[in-house]
């Protein structure tokens, strides 16, 4: 399972990277969202998968699955949510003021 997930992560990373390399804002932002999905899975996989029971005490007492990565992912999810929210707003403000959502047209330096 771990290897399968790591390979899946690799595929997601490829897709995300390809989207990040696009010209259109929305594609890039969706790309970053996919990248963050991928890395959350990756962190989880790094702690070992299906190696124990749900990390809740009192249900059964032996061999919990690694809880630390879960806590880390939670934090990471929140942060990536915060970033994505900000990013979306920034993107549409940029679109409204600059009039384009194409990064090739948002260069600004050499076209002057």
């Amino acid at each position: 399972m771990e290897s399968l997930i790591v390979i899946l992560v690799g595929i997601l990373v490829s897709v995300g990277t390809y989207l990040v390399l696009s010209r259109h804002m929305i594609r890039v932002i969706v790309g970053t969202a996919i990248l963050s999905h991928a890395v959350h899975l990756l962190i989880l996989a790094m702690g070992g998968l299906k190696k124990g029971v749900v990390p809740l005490l009192g249900q059964s007492e032996d061999g919990f699955t690694d809880a630390l990565p879960q806590a880390l992912i939670l934090t990471a999810i929140v942060i990536s949510f915060a970033t994505t929210a900000f990013l979306l707003v920034l993107a549409y403000r940029t679109y409204k003021t600059n009039g384009t959502a194409d990064f090739r047209e948002l260069r600004g330096i050499s076209d002057e």
Partner: protein, 140 residues
């Protein structure tokens, strides 16, 4: 032409109640079961957002006249404040304590200071979520 939303609104009135209850439940169950301040806050926040979706900005604002930025700020203050509190007791920063307290009506209850911290988290999440959605929606 105004679109008729009667069905939606009727259902939502009930649903929001369920959602808010669930949010509070999740918030309190967090320490021993899945849930906690963050998820509780998110669920409560999405309940409020559902209201905004179903009704319109002004109507909801009349019912809930909070400045959600300040709600969020208050949440952060609560979370950090509970952490600072431990300085007063000369304990390491962020120290949490728990204990069993005998409260007159409710009987013996397990209370932890984590709850204050989590309440801060939840308030921040609600405040931030609604602030974001409202700010965008209010934009021209």
């Amino acid at each position: 032409m105004k679109i008729n939303d009667v069905i939606l609104r009727t259902v939502v009135k009930g649903v929001v109640f369920i959602i808010l209850t669930l949010g509070v439940y999740l918030f309190f169950s967090g320490h021993n079961a899945p849930g906690g301040g963050f998820i509780g806050g998110l669920v409560l926040g999405s309940g409020i957002v559902l209201l905004y979706i179903t009704y319109d900005l002004e109507t909801v604002h009349k019912k809930m006249p909070f400045d959600f930025k300040k709600v969020a700020a208050f949440g952060v203050l609560l979370a950090t404040g509970s952490a600072i509190g431990s300085l007063y007791f000369n304990a390491p920063f962020l120290s949490q304590t728990d204990g069993y307290f005998n409260i007159p009506i409710l009987g013996e209850k397990h209370l932890t200071t984590v709850t204050i911290f989590e309440a801060g988290v939840a308030l921040t999440v609600i405040g931030t979520l609604v602030t974001i959605i409202l700010s965008i929606s209010e934009d021209e």
